[in-house]
């Protein structure tokens, strides 16, 4: 449904995005995840036909954005980072205007307005001036605007930014309800949002896509080894050496010795060979007390930080399927 190929946008000498390539299938919800300034807004603006790219192509629903902009614009709903609201209009007036703008047939305008008012829980404020609405209602009016012509593709730029936790949950529920009917690409700098809403995550940093996969697979692929943390009473160097002797063990490190008696130890072994039992057995055999044994998990948060903060040379540039 969305095919982006080597999209590059240059502002002066600075590349906001650099050879961004990805694909979104029909009905998918994909998150565009990256820190501020990564190039999310730039990419979305290009796909929506607001700004032209310096080079590369974007094809939406079979139409090239640069060659057939009107065909593409008919098929997308776009919620910019700042919702494009006319503050002097009432919610109904605004949605009616947008419906005309999106060329909804005259007869279907008022049913379409009713429909999105219901979907976005705006019925109670439909006669209020937009400038008098709370941020949460304004954001919903922005979302309603993107939905009014029932577009195949929805492009949502940071749809929950600036909202309070309660409003965030409302908007997320709304988006989840839209899944299936529309192909959705949404951007966010919040990891939980990407995992909560999306089947697939594209991680973008400094204008490059650095990873692309399901949230689960991303975390699995990036883990090179398993690590366990141990807390041992009456630890000894002899015992540590014995653990090190277990085949496959990569490393054992004594991290601290509390009061000389309780040791904090980290053991590392390859993914797939679970050595927790073996390690526990040695400790118990030595007459030491195993107080704690805990596998370290690499959360998506860690992955995100890893991908977006490491030196560029270490980045995983793969991903483009």
């Amino acid at each position: 449904m969305i095919e982006v190929n080597h999209l590059t946008k240059q502002y002066g000498g600075v590349k906001a995005i650099d050879h961004v390539t990805f694909k979104v299938n029909k009905g998918e919800i994909v998150a565009f995840l990256g820190p501020n300034g990564a190039g999310k807004t730039t990419t979305m603006r290009i796909i929506a036909g607001f700004v032209p790219a310096t080079s590369g192509t974007a094809v939406i629903a079979g139409f090239d954005v640069f060659e057939k902009p009107l065909e593409v614009k008919r098929r997308i709903g776009y919620l910019p980072e700042i919702p494009p609201l006319y503050s002097d209009m009432t919610v109904s007036e605004y949605l009616t205007f947008v419906a005309k703008l999106k060329q909804v047939a005259s007869k279907e305008i008022s049913p379409a307005v009713e429909n999105v008012l219901n979907k976005c829980n705006l019925v109670s404020v439909k006669t209020r001036l937009i400038k008098n609405l709370s941020k949460g209602f304004q954001q919903r009016a922005g979302l309603a605007q993107a939905l009014i012509h029932n577009p195949e593709v929805l492009i949502l730029d940071e749809p929950t930014v600036g909202l309070d936790p309660h409003q965030i949950i409302e908007i997320r529920d709304l988006i989840l309800n839209l899944a299936g009917e529309h192909t959705i690409i949404l951007s966010t700098h919040i990891l939980q949002e990407a995992t909560a809403l999306c089947q697939r995550v594209l991680i973008i940093n400094e204008g490059h896509i650095v990873a692309e996969d399901t949230p689960e697979r991303l975390s699995a692929n990036l883990r090179k080894s398993e690590k366990v943390n141990l807390v041992i009473r009456r630890g000894s160097d002899e015992m540590i050496n014995e653990i090190k002797m277990i085949p496959d063990v990569i490393n054992v490190i004594v991290q601290s010795k509390e009061g000389g008696d309780i040791w904090n130890v980290m053991a590392e072994y390859p993914v797939g060979s679970d050595l927790r039992e073996e390690i526990a057995r040695i400790i118990v055999q030595k007459g030491a007390g195993l107080l704690e044994l805990k596998a370290q998990t690499l959360s998506l948060e860690d992955i995100f930080l890893k991908l977006t903060q490491e030196e560029p040379a270490n980045l995983n540039h793969g991903g483009a399927a």
């Binding site: 603006r45 607001f50 997308i76 494009p84 609201l85 006319y86 209009m89 999106k102």
Partner: protein, 257 residues
């Protein structure tokens, strides 16, 4: 066509969401009424003196003077008022980021530019219609030439169209309404002053060109009841030029945003 109308309608309505339209309409009508009664009084006095001393009016036609003066004054009032009608057109869209909605909708830049111009023109048309009480009032007390009245109004419409087109251009150049109004006032004043420069350099090719570009010389013909195609061509040409440059500015701004 439907897209142009969608935009025009939105602009027209948005004038009435804010106090701008009401203030402009009120001030315009009030000033026009005052100017008109002043001129009538002055001309009455003059014609009475003429009659006393010459026993007749001779070459002097008070009704024609009233018209020419009224229309001339209207242009000056327009010069001050029109920038207020155009100052919001593009500045507000940029400032409120609603331009992002317009430019991602299935509508062309031409339709946006022309629709906005049309919306402003329709409000201006309403203003003109409301001043029509002046000739009607005159007709009730004396005989008037409706041909001159109508050609004068055509002149006002075209002249206002030029002002609005160049005002649109001014508002496409900035995000600030005040700056936009100042720029468009500058444009309109230039169109005015070019005529005086033409007189200074008269008898030279430059002088002829400047005189041609000047709004006043073309407008005067309309107030005399003369409808000349070259005057109409001038006005339409200036409108097209103003809107064309606006189109170019608006289109190129998307590359930078």
């Amino acid at each position: 066509m439907r897209n142009i109308w969608t935009i025009a309608q939105k602009e027209l309505r948005s004038y009435f969401y804010s106090p701008i339209a009401y203030v402009v309409l009120f001030i315009f009508l009030m000033v026009m009424g005052l100017l008109y009664s002043n001129i009538v009084a002055a001309v009455n006095q003059a014609s009475m003196q003429m009659m006393r001393f010459q026993g007749g009016m001779g070459q002097f036609n008070p009704k024609e003077v009233i018209f020419r003066q009224s229309f001339g004054n209207m242009i000056i009032v327009l010069l001050l008022v029109m920038p207020l009608l155009t100052m919001r057109l593009f500045t507000e869209e940029k400032k409120m980021k609603t331009s992002e909605l317009l430019f991602t909708s299935p509508i062309t830049v031409f339709e946006i530019v022309f629709g906005k111009f049309l919306g402003a023109l329709l409000l201006y048309l309403l203003m003109l219609v409301l001043t029509f009480y002046i000739p009607v009032l005159m007709a009730s007390v004396t005989e008037i030439s409706w041909k001159a009245v109508l050609s004068g109004y055509l002149g006002l419409l075209l002249c206002g169209g030029v002002f609005l087109a160049w005002g649109s251009l001014a508002s496409s150049l900035t995000e600030n309404q005040i700056i936009s109004a100042v720029i468009s006032f500058g444009f309109l004043l230039s169109l005015w002053i070019v005529g005086f420069m033409g007189q200074v350099f008269s008898d030279t090719p430059i002088g002829t060109l400047l005189s041609y570009l000047s709004l006043i010389s073309h407008f005067e013909n309309f107030t005399k009841g003369l409808i000349d195609t070259s005057d109409i061509a001038y006005a339409v040409g200036m409108i097209v030029l103003g809107l064309f440059v606006t189109y170019q500015v608006v289109d190129s701004q998307r590359w930078k945003s």
